[in-house]
């Protein structure tokens, strides 16, 4: 099965509420994003993981703009490309990105993941309740219902709070530099 078929199927299941399929989709995408950014950011390898994380957040928050009749990898590639250009624009780096094919976006080299710093900074600036919720669910094993129970709220309310927290994170990361 080629990568587009696989990612598309996983994404569709994720949109249907299948958390395991969605996790796999984002994990595969994360590996590809890391390779994509690493090739273009040889000057600032420290920013690669931040960009991977910012792009994954954007993919998640903007998923309603993916039209399921279109290619998923072409869509994800456009998100990554936009985030890279935006990153350069904010840092006032004069750099142009040649027109690229989204097939090349899928090149399968796999650089080692590192730790992103921006996200922690953004997380630290969230209100306590949102921050604790994000920290709780990111630890494998604690489901949204359990994390909600720890915070004293229902699963539905936890879902809304988590969504808001992720949106706030994306906004703060974008304004970080």
């Amino acid at each position: 099965m080629d990568i587009e078929t696989r990612l598309k199927a996983l994404m569709l299941r994720g949109l249907d509420g299948d958390a395991a399929a969605y996790r796999e989709c984002l994990a595969v995408l994360g590996v590809r994003l890391r390779a994509y950014f690493a090739r273009r950011m040889s000057g600032a390898p420290g920013d690669v993981e931040d960009l991977v994380q910012e792009t994954l957040l954007a993919v998640h928050l903007k998923r309603s703009t993916w039209d399921a009749s279109q290619s998923f990898t072409a869509w994800a590639h456009a998100v990554a490309r936009y985030k890279l250009i935006d990153h350069w624009r904010r840092r006032k780096v004069r750099q142009t990105l040649p027109i690229e094919d989204h097939i090349e976006f899928l090149a399968a080299e796999e650089p080692e993941p590192s730790v992103g710093l921006e996200l922690d900074r953004a997380l630290a600036s969230l209100p306590d309740r949102q921050r604790i919720l994000v920290s709780d669910v990111k630890l494998t094993g604690l489901s949204l219902a359990e994390a909600g129970a720890r915070a004293g709220i229902s699963e539905g309310a936890a879902k809304v709070a988590l969504h808001r927290a992720l949106k706030a994170l994306a906004e703060r990361m974008r304004r970080a530099d």
């Binding site: 309603s64 703009t65 730790v115 996200l119 988590l162 992720l166």
Partner: protein, 214 residues
Amino acid sequence: MRTDDLIEALAADAGPAPGLAPRRRLGVTLVGGGLLALLLVLTWLRTRPDLGEAMRGGMFWMKAVYTGLLGLGGYLAIERLGRPAGSGRRGWTLAGAVLGLFVLAGVVQAMMSPNIRMAMHMMRGHSWHVCSVNILALGIPMLALGLWAVRGMAPTRPAQAGFAMGLFAGGAAATIYGLHCPENTFTFVALWYSLGVLLVAALGGLLGRWALRW
């Protein structure tokens, strides 16, 4: 934070995105912006006194179809440009073709007039000095709603997306403006209506550059 931790948090939020899907957001924008423009016509500009009679004639509808198609071009463009990797080509082609046809009709009509004074009169009508500005004013509420709606989407070409949203808003506003404006020559409409719609589009492009980043 490790990326795997982030993915864990994102996976906990799996499922359809909350809120309205892109097409629905734009539909709500059209209804809201159209009603606001209508309200402005009813309370501020007033409908043309001969509205009932005019609605039985062809030119009233010709104007509405023209500006409606310009707006449709804007809609088709923003519906695509609001998404990563989206291209506005279909919308630009439609709007460009309709604009070209109407300008041609306007030029032909002006050239067929018996003398230069008549032609100038057709160009200026009775309201050339307010027409474009009125359309701009009617279009601004919908443009504001629209930019807010598009912020919830993910345009990767912000200026183009703003222009497309402005074309959508301007076309809708100009269509509503037809309820007030009694001008009925191709020459006048091709010049001043088109200019009004393009003003809203240009404003959208200008604002889009900074309002539509994400």
